[in-house]
């Protein structure tokens, strides 16, 4: 009798190219590539589901406002408070507005917005599309001659791609206001002086690069959430997994993209 190892390596039995695990990874990567390519194809083809895009923008943007406002404001206050002692050692607390503005505009606002959106919006998309998949609602859409990819995926990815940069600008403003309140309470700096220093410290490139990053983050969160949900399987367990892995994968990719974007932007600085 042949051993198990011999069995799997014999030419007749071998059903993998590299190894079963690696084959699966490459197959998954190819499927993601196809998913993204289909998005870019469908997004330009009519019919345009404008009403659904607007509804999704409302879901992603407006409904995230309370959470994102609170988080942005607290980050502004906490970051200012935590930075003060280090600057105070050198008698440089007057640099606080510059420090805060650079930190918030260049990194904190895009990252915080993306992470909150990945948690709130990404998981929601994964769970919603996952449950639609396992309860055959996506099939029902398809047999009623509606393109479910266009109606469910394209609209959601567009919404995150448009709304996360907008939310990021909002977080920037709210966090800077939080920073101002803290500085005003401790150093009695006026509103005009604070914002003059804030805008002197940052350049157009800082805001522009953060916007571009946010577009990328928004696209990533939308694609990951929709991909995980759209191809969900294994019943209710699959829905939970889709929601969970949407958040984990999106957050992981956001950090990787932030790291890469930082390297690229530094080339232009």
């Amino acid at each position: 009798m042949q051993s198990k190892d011999q069995d799997s390596n014999s030419p007749k039995q071998r059903d993998h190219v590299i190894s079963p695990k690696l084959d699966r990874v490459f197959a998954e990567l190819y499927r993601i590539y196809q998913f993204i390519a289909r998005f870019f194809k469908e997004v330009f083809l009519p019919p345009y589901e404008m009403r659904e895009v607007i509804r999704q923008c409302y879901e992603v943007g407006v409904k995230s406002l309370p959470l994102i406002s609170l988080t942005g404001f607290i980050i502004g206050i906490v970051f200012t408070n935590q930075s003060r002692p280090s600057l105070a050692e050198f008698g440089a607390t007057s640099w606080l507005p510059s420090l805060i503005s650079i930190a918030i505009v260049r990194a904190l606002a895009p990252l915080v917005t993306a992470l909150i959106a990945a948690g709130r919006v990404g998981s929601n998309m994964g769970a919603e599309l996952g449950s639609m998949r396992v309860t055959e609602q996506i099939d029902a859409m398809e047999v009623s001659a509606t393109n479910p990819f266009k109606f469910l995926v394209v609209t959601r990815v567009l919404a995150t791609t448009f709304m996360i940069p907008a939310l990021m600008m909002y977080v920037m403003l709210v966090a800077l206001l939080g920073g101002f309140l803290n500085i005003n309470a401790n150093e009695q700096t006026s509103f005009t002086t604070y914002f003059t220093q804030v805008f002197e410290a940052i350049s157009f490139l800082d805001i522009f690069s953060s916007l571009i990053k946010s577009v990328l983050f928004g696209f990533t969160i939308g694609v990951v959430g929709c991909y995980k949900g759209y191809f969900s399987s294994k019943g209710t367990e699959g829905v939970g997994k889709a929601a969970n892995s949407s958040v984990v994968t999106a957050m992981f990719l956001v950090f990787i993209e932030e790291l890469l974007a930082m390297q690229v932007i530094n080339l232009f600085r």
Partner: protein
């Protein structure tokens, strides 16, 4: 309730299937299925769970692709159609899903309007309302128009699912386990509804089930799917008048159950 008499046009085939094969990995589900559905006919496909009954109607509606064989619906080869032509064909096919597949986030009205507003874009609001109310009336659930799917019972959801397929006035109806998970009284209601739909909308239907009462009540012809092939076909009595143990067991178990 006994099935009301109606006309079957044996000269006109609405669905023709030849040599259909479908496998999922090593699992060979359909192994050379041949089938014709005639205009005005209610065809019941019987078989155990996991024998490929649902796979068959998913192939007919273009949700799945066969490995081999030909599926011709209303004179068109489903596999050869471009996406736009397939969508046009799908407007003539109503698919009632096993779990109704109603859109959770929409009211019953929105569920019914969804295929209408997407496919018949020149309809006025008044015409849309009329159509929605007409099909809801046909399934006896006009009063539920503003409810959410989660507020309805299983039987009501099935009825709404059927209403949603009827709104585009299809020529062919595909029912996937219409009585699965329902109590016997609601099963009778659903069986009657299938007959009413056939009578009122002049549809030709394929009904997938393992419920023999349903098969007896709604089927003009019954076929039995065993080991990936249709083993027996005819009227209900003809199919079960056999010494084949597998068929007899199916019959006995169903009625004991």
């Amino acid at each position: 309730m006994k099935k009301p008499p109606h006309q079957i046009d044996k000269s006109q085939k609405v669905i023709e299937i030849e040599g259909l094969r479908k496998s999922f990995g090593d699992l060979h589900v359909l192994r050379g299925v041949d089938l014709d559905l005639y205009k005005g006919e209610n065809l019941v496909i019987l078989g155990k769970s996991g024998t490929g009954k649902s796979v068959l109607i998913k192939i007919i509606s273009g949700l799945l692709q066969q490995d081999e064989g030909r599926v011709n619906v209303l004179g068109q080869d489903v596999n050869q159609l471009k996406p736009r032509d397939l969508d046009q064909l799908r407007l003539k096919i109503g698919f009632s899903f096993q779990n109704s597949a109603l859109y959770d986030s929409m009211t019953i009205r929105e569920n019914l309007e969804f295929p209408l507003v997407r496919n018949l874009r020149n309809l006025t609001r008044k015409e849309i309302n009329e159509r929605v109310e007409r099909v809801l009336d046909a399934v006896g659930l006009l009063q539920s128009i503003n409810q959410m799917p989660s507020e309805l019972s299983g039987g009501q959801r099935k009825r709404i699912g059927i209403a949603r397929t009827l709104i585009l006035t299809p020529e062919i109806m595909l029912y996937d386990e219409p009585t699965a998970g329902l109590d016997p009284i609601t099963c009778i209601d659903i069986n009657n509804l299938i007959n009413e739909v056939q009578e009122r909308f002049h549809t030709s239907s394929i009904i997938i089930t393992h419920d023999l009462t349903c098969a007896k009540t709604v089927g003009d012809r019954v076929v039995m799917l065993l080991d990936g092939q249709f083993q027996r076909q005819g009227t209900f009595e003809e199919v079960f008048n056999t010494q084949d143990e597998r068929v007899k067991l199916f019959h006995d178990y169903n009625f004991i159950d």
